[in-house]
């Protein structure tokens, strides 16, 4: 058996979905119309029952409806409709693994084998309607032995409709043939024959119908009889966790933006939880309301991406990361659209090691690192990260290193601990002046004062990177007499620039 979940006036119900439940129920009693089209002549594309009672019809212009007064007008939002369709699919996915997204506002699900989980078909249909209601939809539910019969029954009948096998033709009899996927020419032909309902189409003899309308005519007749049995085309693509909100008026304050971002993240995390997934990658896109748009560019946008070391479903962690980043940013224009995308990943299923050293909590670590980056910055002048774990580069060039992201899942170290004299590096190296006696340095300037060299070890010559940024240096380790005692410094002569530098102190 197959069930069809159909949301009537889908654009209207989708437009109300972002509202709170109480506000939504209140608005349903009011006349609402959704308009779309060019700004010069927007037309009504969908409306609810109270609006129909006022005499408003689809196709009327916005101006005509406004003259009626008392009708709440909403602009059609593709993002809202996509979100509503995703919600509808999720609702159906909770009942069956095979769900087809038939069209906007309609899904069909295969109920075969679900009796043990949800009980009789009546109960399943009731639960499906209740689940849709919890998600904010007033939906029609129809259950039939084939998908198309369930589809047309749900399209035409409000509430819950159950069609037993064999009764399809009788239950669909009164529907108008305009509901069928029929071409305008064929519709005109059938109407000229006086065929206006499913019943009259189903009663026509098959052979003469095929002679006149071909296989398409026969297919339509079988649809009207409820005899077409086709497999469902499941929405096999992996769920896309993108949430978008477009502001009616562009926002400038962080509070307004944060409120919406928080809501979008909440929605994304709820969907992740429903799919038993987590995320380890978060993307934020802010479209700015730039007045003077450059040629070929549709405004400016701000993008940021976070890659988390461990997957999470925790909305507060994601929101804190976004908030910390937004606090640092200044935008040239107000924000008109927010898009949040979370990349699904399998949840972390790992048991803590009793013998592992205590480590920073993985979820909170990202927030800690983001806070630290907020204080010291993300990277230095050379593009090296300011926060992370040090990593040596495979080169002989002195002071070459990388800073890779810090993770709380660190590996153990097999290196032996050997106390040794450490070098304190001056970054960047301090330029200095050196006086030599023969080859060895005799006086070295530290700050403003010249210091006498007590002993010197060198020169240690090195060069490299001739294919890129060549370096050639002559290195000396010198003992300098200072007011505080003896300082052991490393100095070097940059032979390419013929200038002396103090690289660091042995401390």
């Amino acid at each position: 058996m197959f069930a069809c979940l159909h949301v009537p006036d889908f654009p209207v119900q989708a437009a109300l979905l972002p509202e709170t439940q109480d506000a939504r129920e209140g608005l349903r009693q009011s006349p609402i119309a959704v308009f779309d089209g060019p700004a010069s002549l927007p037309k009504i594309i969908a409306l609810n029952g109270p609006a129909r009672h006022m005499g408003i019809e689809a196709g009327m212009t916005r101006l005509q409806v406004e003259t009626c007064g008392g009708v709440l007008l909403r602009k059609r939002s593709e993002a809202d409709e996509n979100f509503a369709q995703a919600e509808l699919l999720e609702c159906a996915n909770a009942f069956s693994p095979t769900v087809e997204s038939t069209c906007s506002g309609t899904v069909i699900l295969d109920l075969a084998g679900t009796e043990k989980l949800f009980g009789a078909l009546e109960d399943t249909a009731q639960k499906l309607a209740e689940s849709a209601m919890e998600r904010g939809f007033h939906a029609h539910v129809a259950v039939a032995s084939n998908p198309d019969t369930a589809f047309y029954a749900a399209l035409a009948s409000a509430g819950i409709t159950l069609i037993p096998a064999g009764d399809e033709a009788d239950r669909l009899a009164r529907l108008r043939i305009s509901l069928l996927p029929i071409t305008p020419d064929m519709l005109e032909t059938l109407e000229s024959w006086g065929i206006r309902t499913f019943q009259s189409l189903a009663a026509l003899p098959e052979a003469p119908l095929t002679e006149r309308l071909g296989q398409d005519g026969l297919y339509l007749q079988r649809l009207a009889r409820g005899q077409i049995m086709r497999p469902l085309v499941p929405s096999g693509e992996s769920p896309h966790f993108v949430e978008t909100h477009e502001f009616d008026d562009p926002v400038e304050t962080l509070e307004s933006l944060s409120f919406i971002v928080n809501r979008l993240l909440q929605q994304a995390c709820s969907r992740l939880t429903a799919h038993a997934l987590s995320t380890n990658e978060l993307r934020l896109i802010l479209n700015l309301d730039v007045r003077q748009v450059r040629a070929g560019k549709d405004g400016e946008e701000y993008k940021h991406e976070w890659k988390l070391p461990v997957p999470t479903q925790d909305r507060s962690v994601l929101f804190t990361l976004v908030r910390l980043d937004l606090e640092k940013q200044t935008f040239s224009a107000p924000v008109k659209k927010v898009t949040v995308e979370v990349v699904p990943a399998k949840p972390r299923a790992i048991q803590g090691n009793l013998f592992a050293p205590p480590s920073p909590e993985a979820e909170q670590l990202e927030i800690t690192l983001a806070r630290i980056r907020g204080v010291v910055g993300s990277s230095d002048e050379d593009g090296l990260s300011r926060v992370g774990s040090p990593e040596l580069v495979d080169t002989h060039q002195p002071d070459s290193f990388r800073v890779r992201p810090f993770s709380s899942s660190a590996s153990t170290n097999s290196a032996t601990v050997v106390p040794a004299i450490a070098l304190r590096v001056f970054r960047p190296a301090q330029e200095t002046s050196v006086e030599r006696t023969g080859e060895a340095p005799h006086l070295v300037r530290l700050g403003r004062k010249y210091r006498r060299v007590l002993a010197a070890s060198g020169p240690w010559c090195s060069s490299g990177n001739w294919w890129k940024e060549t370096w050639v240096r002559e290195e000396w380790d010198v003992a300098l007499k200072t007011t505080a005692g003896i300082g052991f410094y490393r100095i070097y002569l940059d032979r390419l620039r013929d200038r002396w530098f103090v690289e660091g102190i042995f401390d």
Binding site: V376, D380, R386, V387, P390, D399, S408, T412, A479
Partner: protein
Amino acid sequence: MGAALLKAQIEQHIPSAFAVHQRKGDGNIPTGIAEIDNAVRGVPLRALTEICGSDLASSGKTSLLVSLLAQASQDRFCALVDASDAFDPETGRTAGINPSRLLWVRCGKSKAKLRPLEQAFKVADILLQSSGFGLIAVDLSGIAERVVRRIPLSSWFRFSRVIEKQAAALVFIEQEPHATSCAGLVLRISTEPKVFSGNLLTQLNLEVEVMRSWGKKPVRSERSEFCLPTQWA
């Protein structure tokens, strides 16, 4: 009325009036230098430690810090807040630091336009709030002494109170001690003059003075000498 009687009467009404705050002794992190570990059993957990030494002359304070990080990173996660961005990763590797367990925070120019000292203190604060690090080292030795001296005592006191509640060690590397009684351990380290062997620097002879230690009372300075080889010796 005797003092003992008076004390007993007061304690009847206010039991904690004469109670002495007992600090939790919760272990130490060895420094990896036997002489220091023998003298003070390493750097105490749940306490603030100051390691002091001259900035102009070689004192050995950075070597002690690197050795401490190498020891601690074997079984703990460590954080190094580098106010003057002076840590040398090559030295760290030679000393045996596990780089994957070291969070290195390099202070410097940032959009927030904070001075390195302010950055270092803010980062230390953030790290203290997020538990999980067994050793938090803040290297202030590149900051001018007159600037560090202006840090109010309340900041040191706050750090000392926060670290008391965590099974971690908080170590400051400075030119002079500033935390006074807030510090659980204060070490001053300096070098002996004779260092060169032939034409090559092979080792430094160091002297460490224990200026303050909660572990040993009454407090008095203790000195011990040792030598550290250079990386190529």
